[in-house]
Symmetry: C2
């Protein structure tokens, strides 16, 4: 089965369970960007991010015996919520390993969505050791956040929707800007576009200082970040592109973008004002790239995947200061 | 032509120009409401509210000669932006009469959307006199915000979408909670549901102290509000139900709801947290009714029309304090 076949098979399993997010537009954003901007708001997806797609894809692909044993994931963020909710909807038990200093709201949400949350001490314990012990004891299946074919296939369904929706709006040639951490969403979309909308080109967007994918694409080999924390775009900070995702990115993507924290926050504010959607900074680096890197983009239209909206109210309040 | 025929004709004219907004859900909101909550986020409509539907309907129904002369509207809010943008997209000129003390952002937005804005001094001038002079001098067509059959027909297309989308989600019996000012949206939706989803019942939602529609429905005759300002839900403060809308509301709607400013603001905060959408307080009274008036609702599901998202950043920041 090719990866494209896996995306199309995932789309069938996801149908009726994952929300087809609309395309939003605003003449005010077109004006800033200097071209038509089509926004795909995955913040409106179940659990507030695209991660639900990949989680649903992976869990719905389990055989009955694996489903009965349950799944496990390491995450303090969007992947955790996606896995917890998708598992609960399948009647599959889930264990999420989270750091004990994660925000209480995220821990509470993940539990409320049906997961067993196992906390660990970042300073003293290894989440991998705890996870491996639990997984082997209970026979749990690990759901990786991006380097996992069924997860990539699920994220790729976003690309199938973009291909169809952009065509309906008369856009068949454009860059598609995608917030990029480990590359699961970007590689999945790139594969879907290759087949269904060859005039649309995936381009990853990252925070400045954490632009491992941009640098890896430029150099042709996997580059690391110096750190994986210390930026407001916390949802998309990863050490390096994935082993599975990078070859796909290298084959199919255009050059990457990087934006500052200020630019990401400004894009959050403009999405509030002009689109009436809630983005987290890490879910807005694509919009920031469209608005503030217009010379690096070609064509008279651009597609923006706004990937998530799980933002702390305090951070959102700060972003709104850009409007005063 | 019956009003239902007008709604269906409007739907054809609106197709491809008005956004079909999705249905959003959250298990966290279901928990608070004690039943399934299906949210129709019209804040995601062009210009940030359902008003664009009615404006498009009215302008697309003009004959060529009237279109060449142009349109006029009185509004400092959502109706102004809807008329300005719909007119511009039709190549029709628009004049919007706004008070000179309206927020600068709203004046700027309305101009940027293509309208000629005429300011008047609330204390010294009559907007009706200014408007009538301009309309007769230039032959402009007045687009009333709710007591206008083509506007009601346009708003009613929201009801056609709800009928289809709720059925797809297995909901055929439920109350449909709608933010209500003069009753254009509520009456349009009620008419569409009567024919296409007879198990769905429209129910108007208003701010406490400005619940003219609720009291009018209870008494069977048109009741007034004592004031038309002084509430944070400014988008839906009207003196009384319309002459055209009230008979429709009386025939088709269930009892009204009224909620406090605090409850509306709390609903704005929960829509941010759980749905990742931006609502203005006047666009959130329906959600507030679903969450905080559950004993007044029947059935195991409720539909909520979240009608607009044009909120000042300062007001939104205040609403977020409910989350801390």
């Amino acid at each position: 089965m090719s990866t494209l076949d896996m995306i199309e098979a995932a789309a069938i399993r996801l149908n009726g369970h994952v929300r087809e997010t609309p395309i939003l537009t605003s003449p005010f954003l077109d004006e800033i960007a200097g071209r038509r901007v089509l926004i795909k708001p995955e913040c409106l997806q179940h659990t507030g991010s695209f991660k639900f797609r990949g989680a649903w894809s992976a869990i719905s692909a389990l055989d009955d015996a694996a489903g009965k044993r349950g799944v496990i994931a390491f995450s303090s963020g969007n992947h955790a919520q996606g896995v917890a909710y998708a598992a609960a909807q399948h009647g599959v038990s889930s264990v999420i390993i989270m750091p004990s200093d994660a925000p209480k709201l995220k821990i509470d949400n993940t539990r409320a969505l049906g997961a067993e949350v196992v906390l660990y001490d970042r300073a003293k314990e290894s989440r991998e050791e705890i996870g491996e012990a639990l997984a082997s004891e209970r026979g749990l299946t690990l759901i990786r956040p991006y380097d996992e074919p069924q997860v990539i296939a699920g994220q790729g369904t976003t690309g199938l929707e973009i291909a169809r929706q952009a065509k309906d709006l008369g856009v068949t040639e454009a860059d598609v800007l995608i917030c990029c951490g480990g590359g699961g969403l970007t590689s999945g979309i790139a594969l879907a576009l290759e087949e269904h909308a060859p005039g649309l080109r995936a381009r990853p967007c990252e925070p400045e200082g954490f632009d491992d994918v941009k640098r890896s694409l430029a150099s042709g080999s996997i580059q690391n970040n110096n750190a994986t924390s210390g930026n407001i775009c916390d949802a998309i900070l990863t050490p390096q592109p994935g082993q599975i995702t990078f070859p796909i990115l290298k084959r199919l993507c255009g050059p990457g973008f990087s934006v500052s924290e200020q630019e990401a926050m400004h894009a959050v504010a403009l999405a509030f004002l002009r689109l009436k959607i809630v983005l987290e900074p890490g879910g807005a680096v694509s919009l920031a790239s469209a608005l503030f890197r217009k010379d690096e983009i070609e064509g008279d239209a651009v597609v923006v995947v706004a990937s998530g909206g799980n933002v702390d109210p305090q951070v959102f309040r700060q972003a709104l200061e850009f409007l005063t």
